[in-house]
Structure formats: C-alpha cells, structure tokens
C-alpha cells in the first residue's frame, strides 16, 4: 500500500487554502484530518474529500502562555490568542486557531456559534506555510 493520505499532503492542501480529509468510498464516512484506514471498519478504500470549512465551536481557550511556535508568531501574556475545536458541518471535529473573537472577554465567545475556515500564512518564500484557523460567520 502506498499511503497518499499523509500529513505532508494535508499540509500541501492547506498551503492552497483547502481543507482536505478522506472519505470511505463504500459507506461515505468522512475524516478530517485525513485517515488512510477507516477506524470504524478498517477499510483502506479511501479517497480525498474537500470540506467546506463551515462548522460550530465545540470548545475553546484563551492561551496566555503559548507554545514556543506561538510565542515566535507574536503571542504573549499581553497578546493572548484563542484556539479551539470546531465541529464541521460534514461531521468531523478539528483543532484550529480562532480569530475575530474578543480574547479579553471570553464570556462573549459562545459554544455552538458558527465559524468558517480561514488560513494564516506564516514565513516567507520556501518557508511559507499555512495554518488552519476559523473566524465567525
């Protein structure tokens, strides 16, 4: 088996601002991130599937002490960021940066609110990379 459903492939699609996962050809089950094996029935007959990127917020946090990568991206205690998990309309849940919310008034951010995928580009030239994010609809 030559597994094409890799993180490298997922990231390449992200760099094109596309949110891709996999679909079980037999029963239509959807996975995002992409999975080469359907975890429910072990099928390996999978194909790429493009998600619309629309969904609702399941959980979030405002991070004041970030990872090294997020600190490098300019976030700190005075400039905290929101990260969360969005349940896509097609079914799967995925983690992403949450933009366009008031990080200093987290009580205004509602679980269940509608969000749409957007992409944050970091780095220049060859090192340029896109990261998945969501913003309010």
């Amino acid at each position: 088996m030559d597994n094409q459903f890799t993180h490298t492939a997922f990231s390449s699609y992200l760099n094109e601002h596309r949110l891709m996962g996999t679909r079980n050809k037999a029963d239509g089950s959807l996975y995002c991130p992409p999975r080469p094996i359907d975890p429910l029935n072990h099928s390996i007959d999978m194909e790429w599937f493009e998600f619309k990127g629309l969904g609702k917020l399941e959980g979030f946090t405002i991070v004041y002490i970030g990872s090294t990568a997020m600190i490098a991206a300019g976030y700190d205690r005075k400039n905290p960021y929101c990260v969360g998990i969005v349940k896509l309309d097609e079914g799967p849940m995925i983690s992403g940066l949450i933009l366009g919310v008031d990080v200093f008034h987290p009580e205004t951010i509602k679980i269940g609110a509608r969000f749409n995928a957007t992409y944050v580009d970091r780095g220049e030239g060859e090192a340029k990379k896109s990261f998945l994010a969501f913003e309010p609809v």
Binding site: G59, T61, I62, Y64, S67, G84, G112
Partner: protein, 420 residues
C-alpha cells in the same frame, strides 16, 4: 480476552521521594530514595535478591534530562542489575501503565516478585521547554500547530463542560482549594499548604520586601486575583494547574500466594482497566474522556463491584477540571452532576466520596512519569491506615486510582482492596 487475572497479585510495599523542585538531584537519585523507602515499608522485610524484574514509568527523560534508556540505569543504581528492566511510556499515564504491566507479568506466572516505579525530573528545563516537552504527548501534527498547549486542551474541555452543564470557573477554583487542604497534611507534597497559608506567605514576603501588602477577603478572592492567580489558558488559572515537578515512587508487587510472607496486611489488586484513544478533536464530545469510562468499566467488572463501593479515589487532576470530569467518567456521579458534588463538598475529606486525599497532582506535585505510582502509594497507605494526619477515618476497603495520559489518549484505572 479474559476479564480476570490468571492468578492474583498483591501490593506489599510502597515508597516515594518527596515531590518538588530539587536542584542537584537527577532521576536516579530520586528513584533510589523511593526504592529504599519501599524496601523499608515491607512489614516482614524483603531481600532484594528475591526480586525478579523492574518496570519503570517515565515520560521523557530524553528531553527533560538528555538521558534515554533509563530503565537499566534505575536497575543498576538500585542494585537490581542484571534483572530485566523495562521502561513504560504512555505520557502522564506512564507509571499507571507500568503498574498494570507489572501486575500482568506476575499474573502470567513468569515472575513472582516485581518492582514497579515511576520517575520524572522536569525542573532542569526552562518553563517554555517544559511546555514544549509536555506538548509532545499530544498530536504534534494536527493539534499543536493550531496553538494548543496542555493547559489549553483542558481549558477547552472546561468551556465545553461549563456550556453543557452550568459549571463556572469558580467550581474549578474550589477543587484546587480542596486539594490544597488535603495536601497540607502530606509531608511529601510539593505545595503542601492551604491556599490561606500561601496567601499569608505572600503577604509576609511583601512586608519583608517593603512592597505594598496585598489584601484578600477570602481564598476565593485570592483565586480571582489576576496577579496572584494569573490566567494560564482561560478559564484555567495558575492554581488550576498541577506544578512542574521532580519525583519518584516505587511499589512492590507479588503473587497472591506469596503476599503473607511479606506482610500480614497485603493490599490486593481487585480490578484494572486500560483504554486508548485519538486526539481530543477525534472524540464524540469534549466534556468526557471515553478511555477513562472504558478503563473504569473494565476495572469494576473485574472487581465485581460498582462505583458506589469505592471508598476513596486518587484521580488524575492535572488540571482542576479534569478531576470533575473524572468523577463522572468513573461513575461516582451522573453526567453533568460532578461539578455540583464538588461544590457541595462530596469529594472533600469529610465527604461521602473523598477524592485526592493525598492532595492530588495539584498540591502533591506531578512528576508526570511518576504520578501513577504515586497514586498507588497513597492508596496503599490509606487502606492500611498508615496515612498519618491525612488518614481517612473508618473502615476502608476499596481504593481506586485513575491515571490519564495526554487528554485521554491513554487512561488506566486500578482498584485495590484490603481483605483483612
């Protein structure tokens, strides 16, 4: 697959180092301390030559200390070479899983006497490197690039839990206060002091330095103070998070038929369970940990008991919200009711279902690869009436340990029983 062990296994010795930040002490130094205390705890004594194998829980000595392959080092430094020495890694559940592997090895009949320990040395690294090292227990391809940190994961679980059931950040603060009350009676705890004691210490420190003296009306007032208790990942604040710790814990497991050779009061393995799972976003909901529920159900089935039969539990409170969620996953309270039980004091020392009599990871400390064995040490002491000032009064029969790796990619549960 059987739901019973091929033969019974008993716990006959337990020891631990103090948990804390110990400059100048490495993993092996702490492990030796715990090992010696374990040997001394065996009522009728043990000759180390009777030991057949060593299992060591450890999360990431490679990144924390630049030392891989530590099981044989622990064997060598405790004088157990050339016995088989096995390292077990399942993130923060490493030690709980090591206990399980030790039990399975004895139950198989291959070994009669096994030492299981856990160790972690975390405080040599600067805090941002500790954060990055802990993050490797998550999915570094799909979770960490989004910006998640470990406090962040549990904070996201908290927002999901609050929205679903009505808990507030104050609920979690009360769990922290409760665990510090318990830890104040544990001489091995890293932050073994009540929140009120910590407040007074800060006031005295300000007076000494000639700085403005902070005033708080109550422990909850202190918990709401952004300066004293800063937000780490909203709604989790500093006092919602277990600390960065060094420490080791060691227990002695023997086959049931040999138990009385070592003590008249062995503690028996009544039940155990373990399950795995994918990333947090791969679960059906964020406010429950499926692997914990499965591990608990397996353990109850093996023990032939229900959650109501558990007299007390040591649960994995890496963050305060985790204790509330665990109390539901383990069936102590109905889904969505754990926060009410926490607020009403049901899980306090005096309550009907005491949780984390040791102070939990919050107050006792969380050397990640040692914590699971640390929990077993507490259950051993409580069931045998040896927990000193924090001893839960009354007849205790069943004690449960619940050890989580990551956000629930691993969970391992054990139920221990006193039969005499």
């Amino acid at each position: 697959m059987s739901s019973k062990l091929a033969r019974g296994v008993a716990l006959v010795g337990a020891g631990m180092s103090k948990f804390g930040a110990f400059k100048g002490k490495s993993s092996r130094d702490l492990f030796v301390e715990a090992f010696v205390e374990m040997l001394e705890s065996v009522d009728k004594g043990i000759d180390p030559k009777e030991i057949n194998a060593l299992y060591v829980g450890n999360y990431s000595s490679d990144l924390f200390e630049g030392q891989g392959h530590i099981a044989p080092i622990m064997a060598s430094w405790t004088g157990l070479s050339p016995l088989p020495a096995v390292r077990v890694e399942d993130a923060c559940a490493s030690a709980g899983v090591a206990v399980r592997e030790g039990i399975l090895a004895v139950a198989s009949g291959m070994y009669d006497v096994v030492v299981v320990g856990g160790v972690e040395k975390m405080t040599d690294l600067p805090i941002e490197k500790v954060t990055d090292t802990l993050a490797t227990a998550a999915d570094v391809q799909y979770e960490i690039p989004a910006g998640f940190t470990f406090p962040g994961f549990y904070a996201a679980m908290a927002t999901s839990y609050m929205a679903a059931y009505g808990a507030t950040p104050e609920t979690f603060m009360k769990v922290g206060i409760k665990n510090h009350n318990n830890g104040a009676m544990n001489e091995k705890a890293q932050f073994g002091a009540k929140i009120s004691t910590l407040m007074e210490a800060r006031r005295q420190s300000a007076i000494k330095k000639g700085l403005p003296v902070p005033e708080w009306d109550s422990e909850m007032d202190f918990m709401h103070d952004d300066r004293a208790n800063p937000i780490v990942a909203w709604p989790m604040r500093l006092y919602d998070c277990s600390p960065v710790s060094d420490g080791a814990a060691v227990v002695l497991l023997v086959s049931e038929d040999l138990a009385k050779k070592y003590t008249d009061h062995p503690i028996y393995v009544a039940g155990m369970g373990q399950a795995s799972d994918g990333a947090l976003h791969d679960r059906p909901v964020l406010n429950s940990i499926p692997s914990a529920k499965l591990a608990g159900e397996q353990a109850y089935r093996m023990a032939g008991i229900t959650p109501q039969d558990i007299d007390f539990a040591e649960v994995h409170d890496c963050f305060t919200v985790a204790e509330v969620i665990a109390s539901e996953d383990l069936g102590f309270f109905e889904r969505g009711k754990g926060w009410i039980a926490a607020e009403e004091g049901v899980t306090s020392r005096e309550g009907a279902k005491p949780i984390n009599l040791s102070g939990g990871l919050k107050s006792k400390g969380h050397p990640v690869g040692a914590s699971g064995v640390g929990q077993v040490v507490e259950v051993f002491k409580q069931l045998r009436g040896q927990a000193g000032p924090r001893q839960k009064p009354g007849q205790l029969r069943f004690g449960l340990t619940h050890n989580v790796g990551g956000t629930g990619q691993t969970c391992v549960v054990h139920i221990f029983e006193r039969r005499d």
